[in-house]
């Protein structure tokens, strides 16, 4: 007698991630709600992981896969430090993340990531991914359950130059750091209104010359 639906190795635990790059800073943010179906599992689970001194990853999707991915990257970064005696740069970490995702191309990590950080010149950078490792360097991005609500809003507000332009234009946003933080807060407050998988609390990580800083903002809990 079978009562359950067929077993699935995947679940969608929801969550929304946003990253914005500026000339000398980078903002990475995500909510702290973890859900399954219509239930909330916990209201305080951080989806943001610092992978290196100047690389921060925010991930939504299937939490168990996300955690496994974070562990693999942490291990690979420890090896890198032993071999090179330095921290991995953000663009290098971006390539590593892509390779790590593609390594599991035929049993993918169900993880939707944005990687934010500062490149070797101290400029803000954002890399955006799909679950199997396709990635692109952009000026801003959103991933996860609320991305459909946030991404067009960011497009409207930030109007980044077309990637088809030649010579290539800089993709970083013209906003100041505090303007970018305010924009992120607005994005999440709005997404929380309509997306049931986004809410509870917003965690914002800011990277700049002086280091790394965290901010929190309460979101709707319904």
């Amino acid at each position: 007698m079978k009562q359950q639906a067929n077993w699935s190795p995947y679940d969608n635990n929801g969550g929304t991630c946003v990253a914005i790059a500026g000339a000398d800073y980078c903002v990475v943010a995500s909510d702290t709600r973890m859900s399954t179906g219509y239930s909330i599992l916990t209201r305080d689970y951080s989806k943001i992981c610092q992978l290196a001194e100047k690389s921060v990853m925010a991930s939504s999707g299937f939490q168990a896969d996300v955690r496994a991915l974070q562990k693999v990257l942490a291990a690979r970064h420890a090896i890198y430090q032993h071999q090179h005696n330095k921290q991995m740069s953000c663009p290098a970490m971006a390539q590593l993340l892509s390779n790590t995702l593609y390594y599991k191309r035929f049993f993918p990590y169900y993880a939707f990531n944005v990687l934010g950080g500062l490149d070797s010149e101290g400029k803000g950078c954002v890399f955006t991914y799909d679950a199997v490792g396709s990635y692109e360097r952009v000026g801003y991005s959103s991933q996860g359950s609320g991305s459909t609500l946030i991404m067009p809003f960011l497009d409207n507000q930030l109007k980044s130059p077309s990637p088809l332009l030649l010579p290539a234009q800089d993709a970083v946003t013209p906003l100041s750091e505090s303007e970018a933080i305010d924009l992120v807060k607005t994005c999440f407050a709005s997404a929380t209104e309509r997306d049931i998988y986004t809410g509870d609390k917003l965690e914002i990580v800011v990277l700049n010359v002086s280091g790394i800083r965290r901010e929190y903002m309460e979101l709707r809990k319904d």
Partner: protein
């Protein structure tokens, strides 16, 4: 032509290997909700003792709260046999940890992390351990309470509940739980939750155990029953106000 034969052969081979390999596709004997909370001096956990075979109440003295090492307490819902297998893994884990004889012992955080990896590893092999686990404990003055699902999803919180408990008990816990809950208030809160589950979860039974773990050690209670009242008008005459339904 040869290609055709080969592909057919491959297909039937994969079918055979599918049938011959053994994995849990659905559970047989299951336990229902487990609830755990932090309170002033440690962790409290509660579960009933039913073991359901589908919708048949097959076993009535299933101990679903078990000690793990010196500092942790494990509660399980889902497939009972898988839970007992997990207990064997943990026995070995604690034994090998003890054999170092260095005075160190694994705390709840380490045990929870181990369980997380075991559950995730088994889901990667498409052969899950069909459980939701609650792990609580205290070590070095640190309270710990976490959960793991059968596919490896895990988290920590001040209060957790598996299965139906997540729907029916956690809203009560979110309302009434606070950091400085005394032991008596904690027990009362858990009993309130279990009573709701008893009324509304058909596989819950009125024979429960409650477990406590603090810095001083752990105790798992003898089975006991909750006072229930079925005199409510809605229970006595369920069709009142629904005239003409049958």
């Amino acid at each position: 032509m040869n290609l055709l034969v080969d592909s057919n052969q491959a297909k039937s081979n994969s079918l055979i290997s599918e049938a011959a390999s053994e994995r849990t596709l659905y559970p047989y004997v299951t336990g229902t909700s487990v609830i755990g909370i932090k309170y002033k001096d440690g962790i409290l956990m509660m579960a009933d003792m039913g073991g359901s075979y589908g919708s048949t109440l097959r076993y009535k003295s299933m101990e679903r709260l078990k000690p793990v090492g010196k500092h942790s307490l494990l509660g399980a819902s889902g497939e009972i046999s898988d839970f007992q297998e997990i207990l064997r893994y943990l026995d070995e884990l604690i034994l090998y940890d003890n054999m170092w004889d260095d005075g160190n012992s694994m705390g709840p955080k380490e045990v929870h992390n181990y369980l997380t990896r075991v559950m995730y590893n088994r889901r990667n092999k498409f052969n899950p351990l069909w459980n939701s686990l609650v792990l609580g404990g205290v070590k070095n003055g640190q309270k710990y309470l976490g959960m793991v699902s059968m596919i490896g999803v895990h988290f920590e919180d001040n209060h957790v509940a598996t299965g139906f408990g997540n729907h029916l008990a956690r809203p009560i816990l979110r309302d009434e739980w606070h950091e400085n809950l005394s032991f008596e208030d904690g027990v009362r809160l858990l009993e309130k939750c279990m009573r709701v589950l008893l009324y509304r979860d058909r596989s819950a039974v009125n024979k429960l155990q409650i477990a406590k773990i603090t810095e001083e050690g752990m105790t798992i209670s003898q089975p006991y029953a909750l006072k229930t009242s079925w005199n409510l008008a809605a229970f006595q005459n369920p069709t009142a106000g629904a005239e003409g339904s049958w």
